[in-house]
């Protein structure tokens, strides 16, 4: 949660973006994030991101669901209120499996969904800075963080070289904050002077 300075490069072609990412990374600039209108296979690899651990979280949620279902049904049918259903035994796994399955799926789905929202810092009534609104439509946006070692003009020149069609400098909050997109008045210094 900090306000940082960023150089934002806008690309219109995926085929230009991919080699650009490689060049920017090997030049040693720190890529904060790349925003694209659609999921692109291989992007995480190009950015050098580690594998997500969302599926591990999903597994844990699933196991929790299984345990909840089995202990819940077990407690109801054996301890709290044993009922004779069609002469079946009270402890009968086969009859419990559908509900166990449903709860496993439910827990893992809802849990992963919420975790995903949390990791991406998205939620209702919560705001996050958008570097380029058109990255939800037809543009690819590469955001490079400005550290004390790097120089804005140099990065701008570099981005123009690797094929960015629009470049600007922004100072933005990196985290999320409570607020709404239509009414929020949180002061932010947007310096959106387009160069190219």
């Amino acid at each position: 949660m900090a306000v940082k300075k960023f150089v934002v490069g806008v690309f219109t072609d995926e085929a230009v973006l991919f080699p650009a990412i490689g060049k920017v990374r090997s030049a040693g600039y720190k890529i904060h994030e790349v925003y694209t209108p659609m999921p692109i296979h291989g992007m995480d690899h190009a950015l050098g991101l580690r594998d997500t651990s969302l599926h591990t979280a999903g597994f844990i949620y699933g196991i929790t669901g299984t345990t909840t279902a089995l202990t819940g049904i077990g407690w109801v049918f054996n301890i709290d209120w044993p009922v004779n259903i069609g002469g079946k035994s009270h402890f009968d796994l086969a009859a419990w499996i559908p509900i166990t399955f449903e709860l496993t799926v439910l827990f893992s789905a809802v849990g992963m969904f919420l975790t995903f929202l949390f990791l991406n810092q998205m939620a209702p009534f919560v705001r996050k800075h958008h570097f380029n609104l058109r990255s939800t439509d037809d543009q690819f946006t590469m955001v490079i963080e400005l550290t004390e070692k790097s120089n804005a003009e140099e990065i701008k020149a570099f981005l123009t070289n690797v094929g960015a069609v629009g470049i600007n400098l922004q100072e933005a909050e990196t985290g999320w904050w409570i607020g709404r997109y239509d009414t929020d008045k949180t002061p932010l210094k947007h310096k959106g002077e387009l160069l190219a």
């Binding site: 690899h45 594998d51 599926h55 597994f59 069609g86 002469g87 086969a94 009859a95 499996i97």
Partner: protein, 408 residues
């Protein structure tokens, strides 16, 4: 590009192995016929042949289904190993013929110990079987069997033919679109016929009618799921083998991962269908339905029953769950072999506990494995034969690039 090996040359050892396995199959056939052929209509002998031929026919046909389903979904990722699946699917023709001959022998040989409904006196006395007479009768059975095997062979051949037809002619974009449309039409026809056969009527006739009184609406789906998992496993083994031999340069972990996902997903699907069939019958507890599970769950076959569940559900669930294991060539090879065996066992317990075959005793012995190895040899031999005839890469297919840069 010059380093691409375009043609497969069958290694001598591979040829020796395939011929050796076929010899084992023929030897088992002869020994089996001598040992079991004369006794009690040869039920043990014919049941083993029925189980193996139907299993391996559905197995190679499932590879054809894989091609058709992926093509229909515009899935480009199969293009780097498409020729391998086509070569395996070419085995539908010889194995279809063998299966047809075996069914012919059973039906016209009047093997009432296999198919109860062949017994006219029993059918006349039995109101349940009498009611099914239109469906479970020799003419319907034979006509449907002929249609099934012929159309599988023909439509499969047509799709493979289409794939080879553009090997020497690079396509323009417009021609490519036309070609994909034509492909879509033929694969769609194949899928429709596949739906009418494997996913509905054919398993009822070939396998479910072994328990002529009993029926399950899940049965065909169950058969389909079983063979599709093992079909993917078979395809994966061949892809890995050819990759190991230095062919299929464009196949990499991404393709392996997708094949692994297919096996994983359809193993879960198989379990889902298996459990659906089991639970509804178990819950309703009506004796005419539970009769199917009596020998399996409560009789001689209980070991096979649980082993089936462990191999085909627990193993893929736990082993294939991790991404890294689906991308590991060794693990995937091991799982493929295990799944092919597991579903073979599944077919074994679909056929043998039937009331007239062997409900009280598990007759599994070397004879069954011998016959199975014979079919494996036949598939190996036919696959290599077809694969060595045509280029290994469908180089003019519009989706080839998509497959080369495939990324999961």
């Amino acid at each position: 590009m010059s380093s691409i090996k375009e043609h497969f040359v069958t290694p001598v050892r591979y040829k020796q192995w395939s011929i050796g396995l076929m010899a084992v199959g023929v030897l088992s056939l002869i020994i089996g016929f001598i040992m079991y052929g004369g006794h009690d209509q040869g039920v043990r002998f014919w049941a083993a042949l029925l189980q193996n031929s139907v299993y391996f026919l559905l197995l190679v046909n499932a590879v054809m289904f894989f091609i058709a389903a992926v093509s229909l979904a515009m899935g480009g990722f199969q293009m780097t190993f498409r020729r391998v699946s086509e070569a395996i699917a070419a085995s539908v023709i010889p194995i279809g013929f063998i299966t047809f001959v075996i069914l012919l022998c059973i039906v016209f040989g009047g093997k009432t110990a296999i198919y109860e409904w062949l017994d006219r006196d029993a059918v006349a006395k039995d109101p349940a079987l009498n009611g099914k007479k239109g469906f479970l009768s020799v003419p319907f059975f034979m006509i449907w069997t002929v249609l099934t095997i012929f159309l599988w062979s023909f439509l499969g051949w047509k799709i493979r033919q289409l794939s080879r037809s553009i090997d020497d002619t690079p396509l323009t974009v417009a021609e490519g679109k036309k070609y994909i449309f034509k492909n879509t039409v033929w694969t769609a026809l194949y899928i429709v016929w596949f739906g009418l056969t494997v996913a509905s009527v054919t398993p009822w006739l070939w396998l479910m009618s072994l328990n002529a009184h009993w029926f399950s609406t899940m049965y065909s789906w169950y058969t389909f799921a079983s063979t599709f998992v093992s079909g993917c496993a078979l395809l994966t083994i061949f892809v890995i083998y050819f990759k190991n031999q230095g062919y299929l340069e464009y196949v990499n972990e991404e393709h392996l991962h997708d094949l692994g996902k297919f096996m994983f997903a359809f193993s879960i699907f198989w379990t889902y269908i298996w459990f659906d069939q089991f639970m509804l019958i178990w819950y309703a507890n009506i004796s005419e339905e539970t009769v199917y599970f009596k020998p399996r769950l409560d009789g001689a076959y209980v070991g096979v029953f649980y082993l089936n569940l462990i191999i085909n559900f627990i193993c893929p669930l736990l082993i294939f769950m991790k991404r890294s294991s689906k991308r590991n060539w060794g693990t995937v090879t091991f799982m493929s072999v295990l799944l092919i065996f597991g579903h073979w066992l599944d077919f074994f317990q679909m056929v043998f506990p039937s009331p007239r075959i062997s409900p009280d005793r598990v007759p599994l012995n070397l004879f069954d494995f011998g016959i199975a190895l014979g079919f494996v040899g036949l598939i190996m031999w036919q696959t290599a034969r077809v694969l060595s005839k045509y280029p290994l890469l469908a180089k003019n297919h519009p989706f080839l690039k998509e497959s080369i840069i495939h990324h999961t």
